[in-house]
């Protein structure tokens, strides 16, 4: 069993061809711009849409574990919650969602295989994302082994924040790494995201660069300055990585933060992708093919 946040079909931004992306729960980082904050915890998380909620308090009344209260506004206590889902089932406004459910490996594989014809036609496959897939390592390893058994092209979107040992075990079952390089300054990375640069760079250096696309979410005030982006391209070049994705900042994850009753601190206007196009040229100097967007 492994805790799954979501399975997205026809994912067009997570690797080559038509793909299905399996989002796993759990992440060691806590990037303040994260588009999938519901994946941070391994255990399921209750999302509450205040726009839809009419404060009927049915959820609080129905919960057998007193995990929900309205004092004075909606409050969910993850420590008390047993993830039974009764609150969700009884919310007539559809204001509640329980994100994350334990799934059998074979059920995930079965779901992913439904689109096999599309992968075959488009040279696509499956991408495991998160969160950080390596957080639920045991299940993750079984999952990618099962995918490989079905001859699927397997991509993994990863932060690289975990011991090299784990990477060594998983690497043979992975065709493509979409490897996050959010910053090259260890201090800043640690400060803002909680990421451990030393670990990340060890892992990134270990991999065959031909199997890696480096991915950088370009975030205003964090890493959108030319020096930082240039340093990322330099790193790619040094390691022999030939493809880089620069992902323009977007705020589409904001509503999820609200539904988790968390404050979204990195609230900027959406970035115009054209702003990043000069880096396509710059990349050429480093023999790195830069793509804007995934």
């Amino acid at each position: 069993m492994i805790n799954v946040s979501n399975i997205e079909k026809f994912a067009t931004h997570d690797g080559p061809g038509i793909r299905t992306t399996v989002f796993l729960k759990g992440c060691p980082l806590h990037c303040p711009w994260c588009a999938n904050p519901e994946t941070w915890t391994v255990s399921p998380v209750l999302m509450h849409n205040s726009g839809k909620c009419i404060h009927c308090q049915t959820c609080a009344k129905i919960c057998p574990y007193q995990a929900i209260s309205f004092v004075p506004s909606f409050h969910w206590d993850p420590a008390l919650c047993h993830h039974c889902g009764q609150c969700v089932d009884h919310c007539l406004q559809n204001a509640l969602t329980l994100n994350g459910q334990p799934m059998e490996i074979r059920d995930i594989v079965q779901e992913v295989l439904k689109d096999k014809d599309y992968y075959d036609m488009s040279h696509g496959g499956v991408t495991v994302s998160g969160g950080e897939p390596f957080v639920q390592f045991e299940g993750f390893l079984q999952l990618i082994q099962a995918f490989k058994k079905e001859n699927l092209h397997v991509a993994v979107e990863t932060t690289g924040s975990y011991p090299l040992e784990l990477l060594k075990q998983a690497e043979p079952y992975i065709d493509l790494f979409l490897f996050d390089v959010k910053h090259t300054d260890a201090k800043k990375l640690k400060e803002v995201t909680g990421g451990n640069w030393e670990q990340i760079i060890i892992n990134l250096s270990y991999l065959d660069p031909k199997k890696v696309i480096s991915r950088t979410p370009v975030i205003p005030t964090f890493n959108d300055d030319p020096e930082t982006l240039r340093s990322i391209l330099e790193l790619d070049a040094r390691l022999g990585i030939q493809q880089a994705n620069f992902l323009p900042y977007h705020s589409m994850g904001k509503t999820k933060w609200e539904q988790l009753h968390k404050t979204y601190l990195y609230d900027f206007p959406m970035m115009d992708p054209a702003q990043l196009t000069p880096y396509i040229e710059l990349g050429k100097q480093y023999h790195v093919e830069v793509k804007i967007g995934g």
Partner: protein
């Protein structure tokens, strides 16, 4: 005998018609002349009567040439006249009563208005459709089209006739006359010959109109164009056409006279002429483009809403190179014009040149909603089985109107019967009564109380028994529509170009047409199957509720049963690639499709098939349909064609396409599938979307129509319609300018999942 009233809307009409060119008084006089001819010819043969009536409207109803027209032929129609289809008038000798009443209001004097009343009264007993309706409509089971209070509607019309225009352009008028003249003479053949003479008069009138336009024009270039048109008209009177312009001109005028509003495989008809002209330097591609554009405008100006099919590409074409040359020009015109008609349709298979597929894709991505895509690798063998014809015949299939198939020049396939599968299920749930109006509508079927359905199959069988009753009724009404139409008219112009009327010396519906088929439009297919799935799951598998409890909730329109409604809505729904629920949809589909098909075979028809198409009847019929056990509320639109109910598809485009490709095409006579994408996805993920479509087609997808529209645009267009005069959307079987649709139809379109 009680007289059935058929006054009321008789077809879906979104596009606003161009008003008749004649003054109201002139129109009145023409309708009186028509009526007089009809009256006086009582006792003559139907063929003679038809020709006599036709002479009162042709050529007088032809309009003036408009500036920019490169082919001649604009035709008005009146509330009384002769036709085939309800989109332009009616069938046979017709009177469109509600339009006649509206016309009456345009007249000035009481004396003139009284003259209209006389016409109205006369046609109450003589309108072909009225005669049919007297026979089949009743108070419980069968309503007229469009009266959505019934589970079943029937009508008389001759929709979707696509004639053998290849024969027309290859023989020309002299050749056709020779062919007709060489037949053993009978009343029908004589009338056909007279029809051809009338057709020549129509051409003569066009010559006059062109000359008139020439006199009025001061533009040198325009005068040259008109001179060319005059020359071509004169030429085709006495010769078979030799050039692209001449062939197009001949085809167009003939289609107008025959009352045809779907045109068919124009690449086969016109491609060889085009290639000849380009090869010999008579035309260059830019000139050809302008001429095709003019044809597009002529078709658009007829404003038939759900018709105007021009079909290109696919199997069964002789001179493929010439056909593809025409196809490429059409694709350019289609992308540039952005009209809702013609409904431009591309048939393709694995061998279709990549550049044509790319052009088609670009056209779709630009938001034109065209071409609609038909997959010959699936459809040709499917038609072969469905219609029980050989492969060569099946290769000539063409979709008309909202997507029903016919064989061009060889078959009649008009959809004169329509079923609402949701309403029929509600009869099974309520001992034969329709909960919407408490009318008993189960005919002779004994519907058991809910408590007697111990197992799911007990209930399903009851539903099937009711469906069977309605299938029997359908096939009877379909056949009877042919009998009544045949009793009244010969459809002379249509018959001349349909195999094998001339050789058999018989009118179309008198044993003339080679394949007498027919279609039945089924609605609410997916609401019904999702409801069956909910019943099976909640009542019989999980045993959480009794069937009575579920039904009570639906009868209350889920008021006070909101929790149960949520539970039903949260169950898996068709369109998400869920094997269990899709299998239920397929099971019901096959029962209905095979049931209808078999009845056609048993009744000796060429074919009788269901079509899962859609105009806006899913919305109109939904208004009159009680809450259903898929969680749908009372009065809400039903699902469009075989797409999921709005909002039910939540698993992405691959999942919905997987569900859509499940139904075997060989059991239906046309099924349409819509999908909506944002421009972002169509452009940025272009290659992936192409591969998505390719995979769907490879998996057995028979057809696809794509609307490209951005987030919020449809919503904004509801608020600010003036900003969106040319926002085209695919309703289902037809495209429309969004802001011309009624609010309820707009809402249904909005409810559909948009993929980004």
């Amino acid at each position: 005998m009680k007289r059935i009233r058929i006054d009321g809307a008789q077809n879906v009409e979104v596009s606003v018609k161009i008003p008749c060119e004649k003054s109201p008084l002139e129109q009145l006089e023409i309708m009186e002349a028509y009526t007089q001819a009809h009256k006086e010819s009582e006792g003559s043969s139907k063929a003679q009567r038809e020709i006599r009536c036709l002479k009162t409207i042709f050529p007088v109803l032809f309009r003036h040439i408009e500036d920019g027209d490169l082919i001649a032929g604009r035709l008005d129609f009146l509330p009384i006249g002769f036709g085939s289809v309800t989109s332009i008038g009616g069938v046979g000798h017709y009177c469109v009563f509600h339009k006649l009443r509206a016309f009456k209001d345009t007249l000035e004097t009481p004396e003139q208005k009284a003259r209209v009343d006389i016409l109205y009264d006369y046609w109450m007993d003589h309108d072909v459709k009225a005669i049919y309706c007297q026979d089949v409509l009743n108070e419980d089971t069968t309503g007229r089209f469009i009266d959505c209070t019934y589970p079943f509607m029937a009508t008389a019309r001759l929709s979707g006739m696509m004639l053998d225009y290849k024969k027309l352009v290859n023989l020309g008028i002299p050749g056709l006359m020779r062919l007709i003249g060489a037949q053993p003479q009978n009343d029908f053949i004589q009338a056909c010959m007279e029809a051809m003479h009338l057709f020549v008069q129509v051409i003569d009138r066009q010559i006059e109109l062109v000359e008139q336009a020439y006199q009025e024009s001061e533009d040198r270039k325009r005068k040259e164009e008109l001179q060319q048109m005059r020359f071509d008209l004169l030429f085709i009177k006495d010769h078979k056409p030799e050039t692209f312009r001449q062939a197009l001109q001949l085809f167009w005028l003939y289609a107008l006279c025959a009352g045809c509003i779907n045109y068919g495989r124009m690449d086969i008809v016109l491609g060889p002429f085009l290639k000849h002209d380009i090869d010999t330097g008579i035309l260059d591609e830019e000139q050809a483009y302008r001429i095709v554009k003019s044809l597009w405008k002529m078709i658009e100006n007829r404003r038939t809403t759900v018709n105007g099919r021009i079909i290109v590409g696919g199997q069964g074409r002789e001179d493929v190179e010439a056909c593809d040359l025409f196809t490429r020009i059409c694709l350019r015109v289609c992308k540039d014009t952005r009209y809702v008609e013609p409904q431009f349709t591309l048939r393709f298979d694995q061998n279709t040149p990549a550049d044509i597929m790319d052009m088609a894709y670009e056209c779709i991505a630009s938001g034109a909603t065209y071409p609609t895509l038909y997959n010959d690798d699936v459809n040709v063998p499917a038609v072969q089985y469905a219609m029980r014809v050989d492969r060569k015949t099946a290769e000539q299939y063409v979709p008309f109107g909202c997507g029903e198939f016919v064989i061009q020049g060889q078959s009649v396939g008009t959809p004169n019967t329509l079923l609402n599968l949701v309403k029929i299920m509600q009869l099974a749930l309520n001992e034969g009564y329709d909960p919407m109006d408490h009318v008993y509508r189960a005919g002779p079927v004994k519907v058991k109380p809910l408590s007697s359905f111990q197992a799911f199959d007990d209930f399903y069988n009851q539903y099937k028994e009711l469906l069977n009753f309605y299938f029997d009724l359908s096939v009877y009404c379909q056949r009877h529509s042919y009998e009544v139409m045949n009793q009244e008219v010969s459809f002379l112009f249509t018959s001349i170009l349909m195999d094998d009327c001339i050789h058999r010396q018989k009118a179309l519906l008198d044993g003339g047409v080679r394949i007498l088929g027919g279609t039945n439009e089924t609605y609410g297919n997916i609401n019904a199957s999702d409801a069956l799935y909910a019943i099976k799951t909640l009542v019989y598998d999980q045993k959480k509720y009794s069937l009575k409890q579920l039904n009570q909730a639906a009868l209350a329109d889920y008021r006070g049963y909101e929790q149960l409604q949520k539970e039903i809505l949260d169950l898996p729904k068709y369109g998400n690639d869920n094997p269990d629920v899709d299998e239920m949809a397929n099971d019901l589909y096959e029962f209905v499709a095979k049931g209808i098909r078999q009845r056609g075979i048993d009744e000796g028809m060429g074919y009788y098939l269901i079509v899962i198409s859609n105009n806006q009847t899913n919305t109109d019929w939904g208004h009159q349909t009680d809450a259903s056990l898929d969680g749908r509320n009372r009065g809400v639109y039903m699902n469009p064609a075989n797409n999921p109910q709005g909002g039910a598809a939540r698993s992405g485009p691959t999942a919905v396409l997987n569900s859509l490709s499940l139904f075997k095409a060989k059991y239906h006579g046309g099924s349409v599938q819509n999908i909506k994408f944002t421009p972002r996805m169509m452009h940025q993920d272009k290659e992936k979307v192409k591969l998505l479509f390719q995979t769907y087609f490879k998996k057995g997808g028979c057809q696809l129509m794509v609307t490209v529209v951005d987030h919020g645009v449809l919503e904004d267009a509801q608020i600010h319609p003036e900003k969106y005069p040319d926002l085209i959307v695919r309703v289902a079987g037809y495209s429309a300018v969004f802001v011309n649709l009624t609010k309820d139809v707009q809402d249904e379109l909005l409810s559909r999942t948009l993929y980004d």
